[in-house]
C-alpha cells in the first residue's frame, strides 16, 4: 500500500507528468468529440490518421523549440528563428528550382548544405551580437527577425517558389517504417541535441551560464563561446525546420514560412518546464510542449471551431494548461479540497516518509 502510494507520488511528482497529462486529456477530449480522431489506417504502405498528422506537423516546431531551449537556458531568447526557417527554405528551394534536374539527390544535398551554411552564418551573427558585443538577446535577434524576413523575400523575390523535387519533398512528406520521415528527423535531432548536451558537459555548462553568468565566468567558463554556440545551434535547428516546412508544401514562401513560429517555440519550451530566466532545461518537456501546441492547433481544425472563436478557445486551453502545470495552483487547489473532507489525512503522509 505504502509502496504503491510512493510510486504514485513519484509519478505525479515527475516534472513531465503534468505536461503529458495535459496532452493525454487533449487527445481524449478530441476522441470524445470525434471517436475516429485517434484511428489510424494503412494507406499506400504508410500510416494515415490524425495522430500521424500531429506528429508530422509538430516536427518542425520540435526542432525550432529544441534550439530555443538551449538559447533560453542560457538566459537568452531567439526571435529570429521564424525568419531563419524562411531563409533556409527559400535558399534551398530557390537553388533546386534553378537546376535542370530537380530530382537529383546531389542537387538537393547541395541545396541543403548551402541553406544550412547560410543559416549557421546567420546564427553566428546572432551569437556575435549577443556574446561578443553584448546586445540584449531580444533586440539582437529582433534585428534578424525583421531583416531576415526581408532577406527571405529578397531571395524568392516575393514570389512563392514552387519546386518539384522528390528527394526534397521527402524531408517533409517521406515515410520510413510507415511513419513520416519528418518525425524521425526531429527525433534524431532531439537525440543528437540530448547526446550533445548530456553526454558532454555542454548541458551543465549552458545551465550554469544561464543560472549565474558571473559565477560561471569566475569558475572559468568561457561563457561567450557557449552563448555563441547556442545561437548557432538554434539557427541550425531552425534551418532544418525550414526545410521541413517548405518540403511539406513543396514551395518556399518567404513571407509565410515560419511566421510566428518563435512564439510557439518559446511557448513549447516554457510549457516543457524550462524557465525563461535561464538555468535548467528539459528537452523532453520541450518536445511534449511542442506536441501540445500542435495538438491544440489540430484540435481547432478537427473540431471545426469557427476561426472567429478559435483564438478564444486557444486562450482558454493555454490558460488551463498553465494553471494545471503550476505547482502553486495545484497546491492551492489541493489545500482547499483537502480541508473539506478529511483534514490532515493526506497532509501527514509526506512527513512520515521523510528520513530524519
Amino acid at each position: 500500500m505504502n509502496d504503491t502510494m510512493g510510486r504514485y507520488r513519484t509519478v505525479i511528482g515527475h516534472r513531465l507528468f503534468w505536461p503529458a497529462a495535459v496532452l493525454v486529456v487533449m487527445l481524449a477530449a478530441n476522441t470524445i468529440y470525434r471517436p475516429g480522431f485517434l484511428s489510424i489506417e494503412l494507406k499506400d504502405g504508410h500510416l494515415y490518421g490524425t495522430p500521424i498528422d500531429i506528429l508530422r506537423l509538430s516536427a518542425p516546431l520540435i526542432l525550432v523549440a529544441l534550439g530555443m531551449t538551449m538559447v533560453i537556458s542560457t538566459g537568452g531568447i531567439d526571435l529570429s528563428v521564424g525568419s531563419l526557417c524562411a531563409i533556409s527554405g527559400a535558399i534551398a528551394c530557390m537553388y533546386i528550382s534553378k537546376q535542370p534536374d530537380q530530382n537529383s539527390l546531389g542537387v538537393v544535398l547541395t541545396a541543403l548544405a548551402m541553406a544550412l551554411g547560410v543559416s549557421l552564418v546567420l546564427g553566428a551573427w546572432n551569437g556575435v551580437l549577443v556574446a561578443v558585443i553584448g546586445i540584449q538577446p531580444i533586440i539582437a535577434t529582433l534585428i534578424l527577425m525583421v531583416a531576415g524576413r526581408g532577406l527571405a523575400q529578397l531571395i524568392t523575390e516575393g514570389q512563392i517558389i514552387t519546386i518539384n523535387s522528390e528527394p526534397y519533398r521527402a524531408i517533409g512528406l517521406g515515410h520510413m517504417l510507415t511513419l513520416p520521415l519528418a518525425i524521425f528527423i526531429a527525433l534524431a535531432a532531439a537525440l543528437l541535441v540530448a547526446a550533445f548536451t548530456r553526454r558532454s558537459a555542454l548541458g551543465m555548462i549552458i545551465e550554469s551560464v544561464g543560472g549565474n553568468a558571473e559565477a560561471s565566468r569566475l569558475a572559468g567558463i568561457r561563457s561567450g563561446r557557449i552563448v555563441f554556440l547556442v545561437y548557432v545551434l538554434s539557427a541550425g535547428c531552425a534551418a532544418i525546420a525550414g526545410f521541413m516546412m517548405t518540403a511539406n508544401v513543396s514551395s518556399a514562401d518567404g513571407n509565410a514560412a515560419g511566421l510566428w513560429v518563435e512564439l510557439d517555440a518559446i511557448l513549447a519550451v516554457v510549457i516543457g518546464g524550462t524557465s525563461l530566466a535561464g538555468g535548467r532545461f528539459f528537452l523532453s518537456g520541450t518536445i511534449i510542449g511542442a506536441l501540445i501546441i500542435q495538438t491544440l492547433t489540430t484540435t481547432v481544425y478537427a473540431m471545426d471551431i469557427s476561426p472567429q472563436t478559435s483564438l478564444l478557445f486557444k486562450a482558454v486551453v493555454v490558460i488551463a494548461v498553465c494553471l494545471i502545470q503550476a505547482p502553486a495552483f495545484r497546491a492551492r487547489f489541493a489545500r482547499r479540497r483537502r480541508n473539506a473532507p478529511s483534514p490532515g489525512a493526506i497532509a501527514d503522509k509526506p512527513k512520515e516518509q521523510v528520513p530524519a
Binding site: L129, I133, L142, L267, S275, T309, L311, C322
Partner: protein
Amino acid sequence: MTTGSLTAGRARFRLPRRQIPVLATLVLLLVMYGIGVSQYQAFSNVQVIFNVFIDNGFLLVVAVGMTFVILTGGIDLSVGSVVAMTAMVSAWLLQEGLPAALVLVIALLIGPTLGLLMGCAIHFFEIQPFIVTLAGMFFARGMCTFISGASIPITDGFWTRMSQERIGDPRGNFVSISVLVAFVVVAIAAYALAYTRLGRNVYAIGGNPQSALLMGLPVGRTRIAVYTISGLCSAIGGILLSFYTLSGAPLIAVGMELDVIAAVVIGGTVLTGGAGYIFGTVLGVLVLGVIQTLITFDGSLNSWWTKIVIGSLLFAFILLQRLIGIRYK
C-alpha cells in the same frame, strides 16, 4: 582609524554613468534626424517631428506601461491585442449606440481588469509572465475577432472631434490630442517611477525579487500593479488608436508588442529588470518612429528591402549605442 579609512566616499562608478546609455541614445537619435534632414528637403519641416509624435502617440503610451512591467523583470505580450480589443470594443459599443462617455469608461476598464487578472495569475500561481500574457494575448485577440470579423467604423461625434482636432496653427503645424494625452501619461509615469513608493518598489523587484521580498516590500501587490498599469496603458493606447483610425479592426496592432518591447529596450531598459527610465522609452519610440519616417521619405525601397533596411538601421543604432555605452563605462 576606521573613520580615516572610510572617509573618502568612493564608489567604483559615479552617478552619471547610469545616464550614459540614455544620453547616447539621445545623441544618436539627433544624428539620425540630422541625416534625414540632410538627405530630404521636406524632412526639416517641423510637422515631420510632430507627425512622429502623432503617429506614435499610442505606441508611446503602451510602451510606458511596458516599461513598468519590464522594470520588474516581467514581460507583457498581451499589449498589442489589448490595444486592438479596446479599440474594437469601443467601436462596437459606439455602433450599438452607447453614449461616448460610457464607452470611454468601459473601454478604460477592460484593459486594467485583464491586466489585474494576469498579474494575479503570475503572482499567486507563480506562472511565468510570458505564458500568462501570451494567453492574455490570444484571449484579447480572440475577443476582437469574436466581436466582429470585419472592421467597425466609428462615427461618434466625440471620437471624430478627438481624432480631427488640430492643436496649433490649423493651417500650419499641429499636433493631435493623442499627443497631449501621451505626454500626460509619460509625465505621470515618470513621476510615479521616480517619486512614489510604487515606482521605487518596481525598481527593487527588478533588481532582485527575493531581496525585495525579504526587505519587506509588497512584492505581490507591486507585481500585480504593474500588469494592471500595463493593461491600463494598453487601454489608453487602444482609445488613442481608435481616435487615430476612427475604427476598430480585428487585425490591427498585430505584433505591436514586439515594437513596444523593442522601443523599451532600445530606450535603455534592461530586460531582466531593475534599470531604465521612462525618458529612455520615449527615445526608443522616437527611434522607431524616425526609422519609419526615413524609410517612407526614401520611397525607393521595395517591400523586402524595407525590412532589411529597418533591420540594418536598428542594428547600426544599437551597435553604436552599445559601443558608446562600453566606451564610457
